[in-house]
Symmetry: C2
Subunit: 150 residues, 2 copies
Amino acid sequence: MTIAIEPIAFVRNSRKDPIDDHWGEIVSEVELAEGVPGESLDGIDSFSHVEIIYYFHRSEKTVTGSEHPRENPAWPRVGIFAQRKKDRPNHVGTAFANLVRREGRKLVVANLDAIDGTPVIDIKPVMAEYLPKGKVSEPLWTSELMAHYW
Amino acid sequence: MTIAIEPIAFVRNSRKDPIDDHWGEIVSEVELAEGVPGESLDGIDSFSHVEIIYYFHRSEKTVTGSEHPRENPAWPRVGIFAQRKKDRPNHVGTAFANLVRREGRKLVVANLDAIDGTPVIDIKPVMAEYLPKGKVSEPLWTSELMAHYW
């Protein structure tokens, strides 16, 4: 079974190459692809945040088993589905971006960790009822890995 | 540009047909697809929650413009990217599930709003640093829509 996905938008920003950290300073535009009606964004500005599902188009390999996050042996070797590395089966990323404003066929967003040219698979409004239920807990290595991410 | 996606797992649960509400009572298994190594899940049980990206395989239409959520005229007509309806371009859904336990090549999860047989595109661990930054706000209609969802 193969699922065929057509990008519905593309990311535009100042980050041209995959870099791991300091995403908080990047402001991005998410512009609808040709053929997608602008009406598809109507009402989105009544939400503070949008979920962006995107394709890691610059990933050049696929890890299917386990690996050290960022290839750093100081962190435990874990399965690809226990980390968020881009080199994963299907190369799909997700992010919760702050919606700054809508401008016609574009969304201006902050806190989107996707580089310039990234194909967008979907945009969803963030509803509090869809966020994790109960306390979120995670291992210690993730806080070291995320220390300079934003 | 077409992106080819191969399911990495499938959902198994008691909900055989698409129904909108009362997902909170459903416990699901997410079982790795043939060919995906079990090692890909190693370390996942040190996280409380997993993000499941999946394919709405029973959606039979695609809305590209705007529509009333759940076709209910009491709620405003909004663009497909301002709502989470399954009948959307690319038919991709996302959920934050509570990880109950890992059993070899299976995850047992709660609060996954996907029916039996749903193809899974990706599994990611939930890290607090990836959750929305700042207060999440949304329009009034979403709280009515979500009243019986879980």
